[in-house]
């Protein structure tokens, strides 16, 4: 009766399993973006994890640039995200938020969302939430990442290996423990490998996790906009504005009293032309896009596109003259909130001023950028046989129209760190399928719901298919549907987890409206029936 034996087995196994020397880790996170750093922080904030696991985070870029990020006063990065109440609560709970420079963040207390064709409008307000936190807080990704890195500086148990690119991942024969090969020659063997490595996730490729998705025929243009402070008679700059144009939504998200963040989704050629224009042209177009009727926006788009194609782009005064002319033809007078040509915002503001964002005066240099929009969702959050999971953009990319991308990633991180702690409490192997299955189940469903609502909304609003536009212009349907999205957002924002997610009802309503779209494809009378029966 041989009592030892583990040693013999290990030596025999060692010979057959690997040839090169490797380091052993319990968790290797690939990716030092917001999701990866938040996961490292969440794990580092748990005493149980600190006592039982060795955690490493691998990032290709040099993170000292983020650690030492010192933006000029008043200047803001163009990558900023609206962190929901739920995300903020999570970041506070793991004690990372205290390292984020809150003076650079901006609460969103109200939201104004309207349809660019029918002008039907819906308002959201934090005051409807029974909490003290605002419904969301605009936070630069860099500010968040720097805060997470500062938090991690106090957690020596989590090691950060930056300026290290993952070159390949494999596993030894007869074992499913991943071996992560870095460009420095180091090889990390990990009990659990977490892919937080963004849209082109090498971890996803290694784990052979397929995904489902498509590129939208839409790009987003981002920029940091400067504007006048709100007048004395108006509220502070804490309202987010979003207008759904048929070419895509345009959003104005507050960063400070005199700066806001732009996310304008539109057709790729138009985005290219706008990006190539001089900054004042873009600023004029942004102001117009929140104000002019859709028919005039389409006219202006064509002008910009033609000028861009002919190689002689328009100058700002030409565009401003065009806008002034269009305003006149729509009967928008010089005192109206809907004119973009007013030079100052002094005195008593025009009626309706709060329905529109402040007028953009300029764009911060170097902040105009664009990126393609995609819908992508992995088929499984868990690699076959366990040992690999994905979080953040590696798992999903979503249309930015409700600013949920990063929030979904943070919710992934919250759930995964909870499952890891749970497994540790019960002596589980944190890389095992049993430990990770609850994560995979919970996040797939939750993200899928949110993502499909975003996707359907995008499709619904971007169509110019006549009967659908007509249905939108009827107003009621759109309001109903926005209302359910609003409920979902508010519930999400207040962090209330109900068994029946609000996204369920939102999805149903949006689904129904998409159903209307199919119905109208067949005949106008059927949509009339559909609409009238649904508005009863």
């Amino acid at each position: 009766m041989l009592k030892s034996g583990l040693g013999i087995a290990r030596r025999a196994l060692g010979r057959s399993l690997s040839t090169s020397a490797h380091e052993d880790w319990d968790i290797v996170i690939v990716g030092g973006g917001p999701a990866g750093l938040a996961l490292a922080s969440a794990l580092g904030s748990s005493q149980l994890v600190r006592e039982s696991l060795r955690v490493a985070l691998v990032e290709a870029s040099d993170l000292s640039k983020i650690r030492e990020w010192t933006p000029a006063e008043g200047a803001f990065s163009n990558r900023a995200s609206s962190l929901t109440h739920k995300s903020q609560t999570f970041l506070r709970d793991i004690r990372a938020w205290e390292h984020v420079d809150e003076t650079r963040t901006c609460p969103i207390e109200d939201m104004q969302v309207w349809d660019g064709v029918s002008d039907s409008r819906i308002e959201f307000s934090s005051s409807l939430l029974a909490t003290e936190l605002p419904m969301a807080r605009m936070t630069e990704n860099l500010n968040l990442q720097r805060g997470l890195l500062r938090h991690l500086a106090n957690v020596p148990q989590v090691q950060i290996l930056d300026s290290s690119r993952v070159q390949s991942i494999d596993h030894p024969e007869g074992s499913n423990w991943p071996l992560v090969h870095l460009d420095s020659g180091r090889v990390l063997r990990s009990r659990l490998l977490v892919g937080a490595d963004g849209f082109n996730s090498p971890v996803r490729a290694f784990a052979n996790i397929s995904s489902f998705g498509w590129a939208y025929d839409t790009h987003a243009i981002v920029a940091t906009m400067s504007h006048q402070p709100r007048g004395a008679f108006m509220g502070p700059n804490t309202t987010a504005y979003q207008r759904f144009l048929p070419t895509g939504p345009i959003a104005f998200l507050p960063l400070s009293p005199v700066a806001s963040s732009l996310v304008w989704s539109s057709k790729p050629p138009l985005v290219a032309a706008l990006k190539a224009s001089e900054p004042d042209v873009l600023a004029t177009m942004i102001n117009a896009a929140f104000r002019l009727p859709d028919v005039s926006m389409r006219y202006l788009h064509d002008l910009i596109l033609d000028a861009h194609a002919s190689g002689s782009p328009l100058a700002a005064p030409q565009v401003q003259a065009e806008v002034a002319w269009r305003e006149k033809s729509h009967g928008i007078d010089a005192m109206s909130a809907y004119t973009s040509i007013r030079s100052t915002v002094q005195g008593i503001p025009p009626a309706d001023a709060e329905l529109l964002p402040p007028l953009v005066t300029s764009l911060q240099p170097g902040t105009v950028a664009s990126f393609p929009l995609r819908f992508n969702h992995i088929d499984s959050y868990l690699g076959e046989g366990g040992r690999t999971v994905l979080v953040g953009d590696a798992a999903h990319t979503v249309h930015p129209l409700a600013g949920q991308g990063l929030n979904l990633g943070l919710a992934d991180v919250e759930c995964l760190s909870r499952c890891i702690e749970q497994a540790l409490t019960n002596g589980g192997d944190v890389g095992s399928r049993t430990a990770l299955l609850p994560y995979a189940q919970e996040r797939y469903l939750a993200n899928h719901k949110v993502m499909s609502v975003m996707d359907k909304l995008h499709k619904l609003y971007s169509t110019s298919f006549e009967p659908v536009v007509w249905a939108r212009s009827v107003g009621l349907e759109v309001l109903n549907e926005l209302d359910s999205v609003k409920t979902a957002l508010m519930m999400e924002a207040s962090g209330k987890d109900t068994p029946a997610s609000p996204w369920d009802s939102a999805a149903t309503v949006v689904e129904n409206l998409a159903g209307v779209k199919n119905v109208v494809g067949t005949s106008l009378s059927s949509i009339l029936r559909a609409v009238s029966s649904r508005s009863k």
């Binding site: 034996g5 087995a9 196994l13 002596g427 192997d429 095992s432 299955l437």
Partner: protein, 290 residues
Amino acid sequence: MFAAAIRRSSTRALVARYSTSTSSVNPAEIAHFSRLSSEWWDESPSGEFSFLHQMNPVRVRFIREKLLEVARDAQENPPLNVLRGMEVLDVGCGGGLLSESLARLGAKTLGIDASEANISIARLHAAQDPGFASSLSYQHTPAEALLAESDKRYDVVCSMEVLEHVDNPTGFLDTCAKLVKPGGHLFLATISRTALAYFLTIFMAEDVLRKVARGTHTHSKFIRPEELTEFFRTYPNTESPWVRGQPTRTQVEVRGMVYNPLSSSWILAPRDAWGADGCNYVFWVRKPNI
């Protein structure tokens, strides 16, 4: 030879093939057992032992929380890693599912099994994991032999899903009980002999769903929780039994385990949940501190 934790017919066939071989390890055996080990440790729903994998966290939780509760009776704020440093014996360890978890929680764990194949599987799996330095060892032996061979006794003795397979449960319980230190703990998990248990574990699991190899269970061998409690009312004798008077939570406890097919996970039924111990249950009893 009643302590055999033979759980599946496939394992049984293996035992027949390998129980005569010696313990020396050769590469062909390593290759063979690592294949078996990966089958044993296949946690996917199609894996033969997936039910055990799903059940394991619930049992560990029961063990840990029970030990914590007892520790709290003795001291105000006991350390949460209550298993750290404890000497634990896992009787009928199979592929090492429970043994690994207990070792990970810091217990000095010995897993024993009468099937040599199981011990090889368990060793190979543990050898992959650098986390078990000296905290985990395995031995191919029946419990009786271990008892006879040394005076070593354990803080905690566990035997999960073994009782329903043994031919002489009284003798088996006696052996396990003797391996416990005074003041130590005995944990058992098994299946009750009820119509529900027959329906779920034999009719559904073996005959209808074929989740478990046919012939794995024999209904007449199932033991009801009250029979176990009753056993310890007169064990080791009527003068100083392990359980006396009204059973209280400081002497003995039974908790049902309920399967939730929607999330494919097991939950520990709340205390005294009516009927929850009608099928799979966990049992704890404490040896008096003499």
